[in-house]
Amino acid sequence: MFRNQYDTDVTTWSPAGRLHQVEYAMEGVKQGSAAVGLKCKTHVVLASVNKASSELSSYQKKLFKIDENIGVAMAGIIADGRVLCKFMRSECIYHQFVFEAPLPVSRLVVQVADKAQVCTQRSWKRPYGVGLLVAGLDEAGPHLYYNCPSGNYYEYYAFAIGSRSQAAKTYLERRFETFKDCSRDELIRHALLAVKESLQDEELKSTNCGIAVVGADEDFHILDGETLQSFIDTLEDNKAEAKEAAPEDPASTSGGGEAGPSAGAAEEPPAEATPMDM
């Protein structure tokens, strides 16, 4: 992005018809550590990379429960994200109070998007600097949405945001068509593998990632350390099996081979993916 004279105010259009401040806000999301979301027919899983600013500190919390049927993962300015969480929680609880029923996630994301839009059209405000991956349920089933600082919202089968999210997105793009028939546990394993792609120089451990699940029969909750570690361990086991079972494919064809890895099969895809070009 180049600096120019039309980017001082969010309420100033550029001659090319762009709002640079809004675009800069979306850049801010890319600075945050990664968050991943994916869904199957029955569940939605969110995953986050937990980055600690130093060895002495704890990591920033990025997975939040909004209601029994809704949760978010965020990337970007987490402080802005917390404020939006508070808003979302209060909308959900208001709906519960008046209607004694959960607020459908598809309606909540519209309310969040409308709130974000306000900040793109007031000279005394700035856009929210956070991207939200919203996982939730409504009458039509499970949904995954992405709320953007621009005030737009999109629905996804699977998505990743934040720094080095492209690697996770590539993992997801190759496999998303198989996700809808995945079981809950398979979906969690996919989420962990996707998040792994976004890590740099780090082993996947329960201390540097987080997983949250929501389903029709399962309230939104964040997996505790032990459960998370056992999922990560099973990833390792599969890796070992895959290494023993099949000889290594030549790098050029592995990409094609990945295309339909778990078609119909009940086991998880080969964990040994071709090393990506970063």
Binding site: V98, S106, V110
Partner: protein, 256 residues
């Protein structure tokens, strides 16, 4: 009880319009909240049956002891899945109808696959009634709400003070006293449409004989998974030759 109401009328600190009293230019306190109903509807009955819900009400709106309006529709569909019936002050019922129309319209305008079901509408109604009661300015109605959504049948009541509950058969007004005992005796969960209508007609007949604010002109509303239908008005055959009606003043000489 009277004491409290009198004291309340004298209360000057209720300045705001919503609190119900305002000092007017003549210096007197003018109460601007509902104190008693004027144009009233009588009982409403509701039962669950095999395929859904049936509601029944007559078409009278009385002005004191006069049967002022005899084609007043006291049953109304709400959205796609529910029907509402009200007794009490009919202008308040019309107000509530407007609110519910707005609610269901906004629900439709989301244009998504979600809809407000009978349970949600009942909860919303309850909130309205209770909050008005807290302001000492109630909507003077006793309301029955019935509906079917995703195969689940729902039948609930809300009163003017916000008392609310669900049941398999409900009634308002005189129906609570005259119809419910019959419903308790005869109601079954697997009644067919014909059996349900017959049971309601039996109760409506009792109400016509004994409730002086009722008229012999009824509507029955049916809600099933397919939707809501409200029948055109009909009458029930009466028989005034029954022994109970002979010599009515037998035990009360001098009355008429």
């Amino acid at each position: 009880m009277e004491h409290a109401i009198e004291a309340f009328k004298r209360e000057e600190s209720l300045g705001a319009r919503h609190s119900g009293a305002a000092a007017a230019s003549d210096g007197k306190i003018h109460i601007e909240r509902t104190q008693y109903p004027y144009v009233t509807g009588s009982s409403v009955l509701g039962i669950k049956y095999k395929d859904g819900i049936l509601l029944a009400a007559d078409m009278a709106a009385s002005y004191g002891s006069t049967k002022r309006y005899k084609s007043f529709q006291r049953l109304k569909p709400v959205g796609k899945h529910a029907v509402i019936g009200a007794s009490g002050e009919m202008s308040d019922f019309q107000q509530i109808s407007t609110m519910l129309d707005e609610l269901t319209l906004r629900d439709q305008m989301w244009d998504d696959s979600n809809t407000l079901g009978p349970h949600e509408i009942h909860s919303y109604l309850n909130r309205i009634m209770y909050q008005r009661r807290n302001k000492f300015d109630p909507l003077w109605n006793n309301i029955i709400l019935g509906g079917v959504k995703n195969g689940k049948k729902y039948l609930g009541v809300v009163s003017m003070i916000g008392v609310h509950f669900e049941d398999d058969h409900v009634a308002t007004g005189f129906g609570q006293h005259l119809a419910r005992p019959e419903l308790r005796k005869q109601w079954r969960a697997d009644m067919t449409l014909e059996e349900g209508v017959r049971l309601l007609e039996k109760c409506l007949l009792v109400l016509y004989y004994r409730d002086r604010s009722s008229i012999n002109k009824y509507q029955i509303a049916k809600v099933t998974e397919e939707g809501v239908t409200i029948s055109s008005p009909f009458a029930i055959e009466t028989n005034w030759d029954l022994e109970a009606f002979q010599n009515p003043t037998k035990n009360a000489e001098g009355s008429w």
